[in-house]
Symmetry: C3
Subunit: 354 residues, 3 copies
């Protein structure tokens, strides 16, 4: 399938500069693109690359002043326009095999909704409930009495342990583990005695959970992932943590036990939140930050330990200038010594004069 540049421009609400009749068959990044592809530049740092792209067309924003050796579609919002192009031209997602694979093991009392797909080597333990049109990939494990809602997609090798509850339209990527035991022990002399982890994990609607994420079950009660939460890969969510609706967390971040993150927060990659910390709604935590104090709603934090971003930037600037501060202090010391010597000399002179 191909679409002309002119037609693409019309769909995007953009203006063609150059040949609108060129046929476009695919989408690609500005460096990868070849003949027949459409590409885009959304950031100034890629503008130079436009000049040498081998694409047949390029989407640019109002401010783009560079040149491109191909048809240009100028739009208001480059990202949005490219999403449109991708939707029209990209390879379609692989259609899921329908039905229950013969090599899935499904306990007799499992309740399956309509049009459910279960992949080979999946295991559904007794008491499980699966909603309509949900797909459970190859090799997934769903523990006893867990329930999964409608229109969910579990990619291969997901583990959901017993008594978990997953909402509707939830996507879970490969290797993610939900409901493993929380990390809790009491001391018995030198040894550690395990505290039973008898709580559960509850996941809301419209959640997406990345590959190899781990979410522990609660010590008691629930670990809660709110509606619309998006978790990137390799994230750790400890026992009894709660993540508010529509909060997004980037890869490799970790939430310690009993952390509460509010709604609409954004947590950067490799960030950490200390045990029992509460983070208010709409808080932004920068990449690699370590939050060790409760944060008011709307906070913007950065650093280890995390402090308000403005202050963190200022402090960091002062740190970078430390060598100069040190020089300045040394210079002041020298001048002060000179003054002292001079006054000393004056004093002695005055004495000898006196």
């Amino acid at each position: 399938m191909t679409i002309s540049v002119a037609e693409l421009a019309r769909t995007m609400g953009g203006v063609v500069e150059g040949d609108g009749l060129v046929a476009i068959a695919g989408v690609a990044g500005v460096q990868d693109a070849g003949p027949g592809d459409i590409t885009f530049v959304a950031r100034p740092k890629y503008a130079a690359a436009a000049a040498t792209t081998r694409a047949s067309a390029i989407i640019v924003g109002p401010d783009f002043e560079g040149r491109a050796p191909c048809a240009v579609i100028r739009v208001k919002d480059v990202d949005l326009a490219f999403v449109t192009a991708v939707a029209l031209l990209a390879p379609q997602p692989v259609p899921l095999a329908a039905g229950i694979h013969l090599a899935a093991i499904i306990a007799p009392d499992v309740r399956l909704g309509r049009d459910v797909a279960i992949g080979p080597y999946a295991v559904l333990e007794p008491g499980v409930t699966i909603g309509d049109r949900t797909a459970i990939g190859a090799g997934c494990y769903v523990g006893h009495f867990s329930t999964i809602g409608r229109d969910c997609r579990f990619y291969p090798h997901v583990t959901l342990r017993e008594r978990a509850k997953v909402g509707n339209r939830v996507i879970i990527h490969n290797g993610a583990v939900l409901g493993s035991d929380g990390f809790g022990y009491t001391r018995e002399g030198q040894a550690w005695k395990k505290i039973p982890q008898v709580g559960v994990v509850e996941v809301g609607d419209d959640v997406e959970i990345g590959a190899n994420v781990t979410i522990d079950r609660a010590r008691f009660g629930k670990t809660v992932i709110g509606n619309g939460v998006k978790l990137d890969n390799l994230i750790q969510v400890a026992h009894n943590a709660r993540i508010g609706d529509h909060t997004a967390i980037a890869a490799m971040a970790g939430l310690a036990g009993s952390v509460t993150v509010g709604a609409n927060c954004q947590i950067g990659g490799q960030a950490g939140i200390g045990g029992h910390i509460r983070i208010g709604d709409g808080t932004v935590v920068g990449a690699r930050s370590l939050v060790l104090k409760d944060a008011q709603p709307g906070s913007v934090l950065w650093g280890t330990p995390a402090i308000p971003l403005d202050k963190a930037k200022k402090i960091n600037a002062y740190v970078m200038l430390l060598p100069r501060l040190r020089e300045k202090v040394d210079e002041l010391a020298k001048r002060l010594k000179a003054l002292e010597a001079r006054l000393e000399a004056d004093g002695r002179a005055a004495q000898s004069e006196g």
Copy 2:
């Protein structure tokens, strides 16, 4: 099953304040709890929440001065008392399916102890030995010649590569990988040449290993996880590392190659230990610390690079005060300049007088 508040109090060694006849059927956190639940407040920051809990009973400590709209059990150690409540009231752990599932693949020469449970789609390669009452979950992989002791529990999707040795009463959570190749190469021009990783992994007794943890086999010899070690989720233990008995490591920490951590240490979340570093017994490493020097037994470390906690806190306080230090230096410079100008003027005056 329900238990009266009075009976719970007696079991915990606590004192009832309010109605001891109230029937309790479950446990929950102070915010989640509803009628029929018992909850607790162990930390001052949750004390306010006691006033609005919907629980039917609450466990509090000697210092609790707040109010609660329900029966109160006052105890010496709230955490311990709640563990008792959980043991009495929480849902019982899911009983493990006994026996060998027909869809497990077990090499003919595998030696299985008594009352072993093997889940569906588990694979036990030739030469494997499994001790009495050990349970291997669905989809686990146990490599050639590996031995696993008595009373262990491998949750689904655990990988144990060849020639590994796991002790008794070891719990391994979903997706953990033990015995993958260490990361070792030599340069060959621009390219890297793989150093064969021919060692093994040895895990002691009473160890617990979290979800998606990775523990590499030794380049030669052994990577050693001591008795009673507890590892949280997503931890990396590189080739030839050794972790001493009863050491506990929080989520997302990483030990580089040939690291030696002593016994009874506590390593915080997201911490890192550099290659070949030795950490003495009883050392505490704070969250997110990066240890790049050997540490004496009993050290308490924090920071990147890690230094003694006291010093790290002091340095951090000085860093936070840098803007004030800078102001002070600027003010000194101004005053010094004024002095210099005055002396200069005095000098000139003296000269003109002279």
Copy 3:
């Protein structure tokens, strides 16, 4: 099998000090080694351990001046010599089961090369191509239309999602996930709307990928892992990232979306590279660094945010000396105050004299 110390020394190009007739049967670290083992000391910090080793022979370098209670082989390059010893004496790698296991599910149109091995419970979806002599371990999942080259080894539980391309001689360790969706959303009011992730993952030749690594597919176009790249465990590579040839990345490092890392780079453990950052060829990034600016080829970086290593070390030294700087400033302030007071007094004296 045993080899004499003399024969080992000859193979290594080393010189025997002591009894060359001693028979050696195994290799081990200096602390683990017992009678019949050969060990080595390559680092000064282990030299003391040589004196108490129970090994039957030890490999040492030209500078080793310690004593050893066993035969000594002195060589130029200890590491290289020990690799030779390991190759001769270590247990041989477990031979892979040949052929296609009956309990593998292979779509009818999958193209398999010669001498391919497929483990039990592996799933190969329609359109997959596997090259000659490649081994796919138990429970691996290979998605639709993906192609894997010759002489590859996928350990059990690897996931390769649809349309991925893997080169020749690639090793992928347990639990690694290649091709999961990138983390991309647009705002729709408070909610997040998923951006379709329609790109792919492309892995070059001679790549090794560690356990539980996650590599996301591109939003469009490709996420690229170059030839000869080595990735340690638990690494995150986000959508559209590109890693140049022969770059090595240590465990737990994370590359954000659209990052470009050049060829022959070395990235330390737990490091992070911010979104869209470009890192030039031959760059070295220290452990735990967070790179937030583009880096010129050959850069050596450290810190959060990362700066040139020399500068980072200097700044860190200044930070450690902050308490002393503060003392110095306080002392200057005191001396300045004394001078001011003295001049004030002199002034008053001069006035009263005047």
